[in-house]
Amino acid sequence: MSTQTNVYRQKGIDDGPAMSSRVLKTVVLVVCCAVVVIPFLGVISTSIASQEHVTNSGGFVLWPDALNLDAYKSIFNGGVVQRALLVSIVIAAGGTLISLAGSTMLAYSLSRPGSFGQRPILMIVLFSILFSPGLIPNYLVVKQFGLLDSLFALILPTAISGFNVIVLRSFFMGIPESVLDSARIDGAGDFRIFWSIVLPLSRAVLAVVGLFYAVGYWNAFFNAMLYISDTAKWPLQLVLRTYVINNTELSSGDLGGAAADQLPPQESIQMAILVISLVPILIVYPFLQRHFAKGMLTGAVKG
């Protein structure tokens, strides 16, 4: 029966694209995926490859011949890298909390008509998106606040992002006023409304903005290079930069005590550090993914 129907049905929009078009799209998508996946695969493979394989492959292995975890063992044996990893986690976690707290409160106040100084404060936020103060003024401000060599110097100067505040404000403006009015009638104050009504309704946008902040803190190295003299307080990305971009050799002490003649290949260690720096964000992302599309669209639809 259904076969007969198909025979007589005219070609229409329900048929979907032609086979050739589908093949073409598939090829393009596969190529695009390969462009992203192959370098990443190379990074992981090199991090677990042996010295001989790394040498024979010209420093970059696409598929290891055997599993060799020496690079990871060296890194996690307690040295500069391990401590820097801890510093990065503290900065990313602490910074994200501070940023989310500040940004949501600022965005909420800017989203409610009639708030004190709403317009000039909004202008200041927008101004900060368009114009950046520059390297030297930033440094002088941090110095004047006595934040040099403090982890707060890596959080406070970038704690509030104007872009994220605008995204949050747009989302908060979408919450019906009637919901907030009913809470007010029940006797809730502004902070209670914010904490018990607004934030629970905004989980999607909080997840997205939180991820933005977390990735920003996790990847930041430049401020640490400028503001932190005590190398014991350097975050992972700065250590990573020192070893990868400067192309310097890691010594055994940095890796926590492997004998110098037993060090894993230099390239493997560099790639292992890269993998370690990527993993936390990769772990967090799937948990936030379901909120991501909704949160991203918030800023796009309403401005």
Binding site: G58, L135, F222, M225, S229, T231, Y243, E249, S252
Partner: protein, 536 residues
């Protein structure tokens, strides 16, 4: 936050503006005569230390040692410091060492100095940014390595560095015998606005670029370089290249060797009473054509023009030849994993068959300055810098570069070999105080006396015709403010031409634009400076 070269220069200019605010007494940037005013240079008195294993055949020849002296002599008494903390800003090209509280080497260094040393250490590639912000924030400390690319450098040093002329000029330097062990060519780079305002981090000719060859691989493939002319180099390159085996002749374009073969000027050169820049000459274009052809022939590592990873490729054997400094030889031997690893340094020949003209590097790696201080404090800080400059073969040098026996190094014969703690705590023998002051750089490759012979024979052959940069120590305001941008533009086009992305003839237009955009102004200023110094 990523910083582009342009914004970096902006940062440098902004820092100069902030740093010089309120200093009405600095020299105007248009006053070339005042900026390049000469001063009586410190007297050179060669330190009577251990005798080199090979005789010096030329004033520029570094001391060549097969092995570390068996009984290093202690050449200082007491401690240079007075107990007061000494702060400083410096850089490193090695892993950052553990902080003083976790670093026995640093603790012993403080004890030997008689002063706690607090260093702000930054990775070399990030140093210009760090330096600019530290200038603006006035957080450089008592001693600081100077970023040579900093805009308005003479004015900055006038405002923020101690004038050391009365302490170091002429025979006054003899008070600091290890600083007096630096040749006058090095001190020329420390004179700004008629004063000695810094001390040199001398490297001599060891920082010059040269062609290094993996002789073990050449022998294995049965390829002879023979007389090193352009033709023989190209033939040998084709013979050793085997793309299928992941092996190329060169890690990077061999511009140092080709420049020597073509007898190019070392940057600027006086010809017929006028300065000419290497880029303006047809020989330079010929060099571009040769290296472009090499890329086309596939004898240069595919990433060799765009990416800087030649040390790894050369050590691993992906590249049979590379271009690096004489001082890098030691690090290659240290990285090498195969026992027959050996490096040769061929002597480039010109078309007439005579030795080519090798372009030597600047005599200094960089310079370091002292914060304006009282005369007593200045003398103390100079004493500390003098201690940092104790030469090779002394007990002070042995400690400075290798740390404490047992913990940081063990002896292989008389050669100190860093232990794993030494590698970390002494920063692979290059603790960052070496960028505040250092002794002369010897040709000493521990455990590889054959490499010393190779370098010595090479030096003997090339030094008769080699040239140092003739404008070193002269200051051009236009070079200071526009030089980086102009160089970046020309270097970028050089890569484009080598990679075949730009036509060779586009070089002519670029040179015309280069001259108009600042090179002619730089030429005028350098000519004025040369005339003032009596060199022209």
């Amino acid at each position: 936050m990523m910083i582009s070269r342009r914004s970096l220069l902006g940062g440098s200019l902004a820092a100069a503006a902030v740093g010089l605010t309120g200093c009405s007494t600095v020299t105007r940037s248009t006053d070339i005569a005042a900026l390049n005013k000469p001063v009586a240079l410190p007297t050179y008195k060669r330190f009577n230390g251990p005798k080199p294993d090979l005789p010096r055949s030329h004033p520029l020849m570094p001391d060549c040692f097969y092995r570390f002296p068996e009984h290093p002599t202690k050449v200082t008494s007491g401690v240079p410091g007075n107990g007061q903390t000494v702060t400083g800003t410096t850089l490193t090209s090695n892993p950052i060492p553990p902080t003083a509280d976790r670093n026995p080497y640093w603790q012993e260094l403080n004890r030997r100095l008689g002063a706690p040393l607090e260093l702000n250490i930054t990775a070399a590639t990030d140093y210009p940014n760090k330096f600019a912000t530290s200038v603006a924030g006035d957080t450089l400390g008592d001693l600081f390595n100077v970023d040579s690319g900093f805009a308005y450098l003479p004015q900055f040093l006038e405002a923020r560095a101690q004038d050391l002329t009365e302490y170091l000029s002429g025979d006054a330097i003899l008070e600091y015998p290890f600083l007096a062990n630096a040749p006058q060519a090095s001190w020329r780079g420390c004179v700004f606005s008629g004063g000695i305002r810094a001390v040199p981090i001398q490297r001599g000719i060891m920082s010059s670029n040269t062609l290094l060859v993996r002789q073990d691989l050449m022998d294995k493939f049965g390829v002879e370089l023979g007389s090193l002319t352009v033709d023989s180099l190209q033939q040998a390159a084709k013979a050793v290249t085997d793309e299928k085996k992941n092996r190329w002749a060169f890690a990077v374009p061999p511009t140092a060797a080709v420049s020597a073969m073509l007898r190019l000027p070392n940057g600027w050169e006086v010809r017929d009473g006028k300065l000419v820049q290497s880029r303006e000459l047809p020989e330079h274009k010929e060099m571009l054509a040769i290296t472009r052809q090499m890329v086309k022939d596939g004898v240069i590592h595919p990433d060799g023009v765009a990416k800087n990873n030649q040390k790894v490729w050369f050590t691993q054997g992906s590249a049979v030849m590379t271009q690096d400094t004489y001082s890098s030889i030691q690090s290659f031997y240290r990285r090498a994993t195969n026992e027959d690893f050996s490096i040769s340094i061929p002597v480039p020949l010109a078309a007439d068959g005579k030795v080519g003209r090798v372009l030597l590097g600047a005599p200094n790696n960089s310079i370091a300055a002292i914060r304006p201080s009282s005369p007593e404090r200045t003398k103390t800080l100079l004493g500390i810098l003098n201690w940092f400059a104790a030469p090779f073969g002394t007990e002070e040098y042995l400690f400075r570069k290798f740390g404490l026996p047992g913990r940081h190094y063990t002896l292989d014969g008389t050669d100190p070999v860093l232990t794993k703690d030494g590698g970390s705590e002494v920063c692979l023998g290059e603790f960052p105080i070496q960028y505040l002051a250092d002794g002369p750089y010897p040709a000493y490759f521990p455990g590889h006396p054959e490499a010393v012979d190779t370098a010595y024979d090479h030096f003997k052959a090339i030094l008769t015709t080699a040239i140092t940069p003739p404008t070193y120590g002269l200051y051009s305001p236009t070079q200071s403010t526009k030089g980086k941008i102009l160089d970046t533009r020309m270097d970028s086009l050089t890569k484009d031409i080598q990679l075949g992305r730009a036509d060779l003839d586009s070089w002519d237009d670029a040179v015309a634009d280069y001259r108009k955009s600042g090179a002619d102004a730089i030429r005028d200023e350098l000519e004025q400076a040369l005339a003032i110094k009596g060199d022209k």
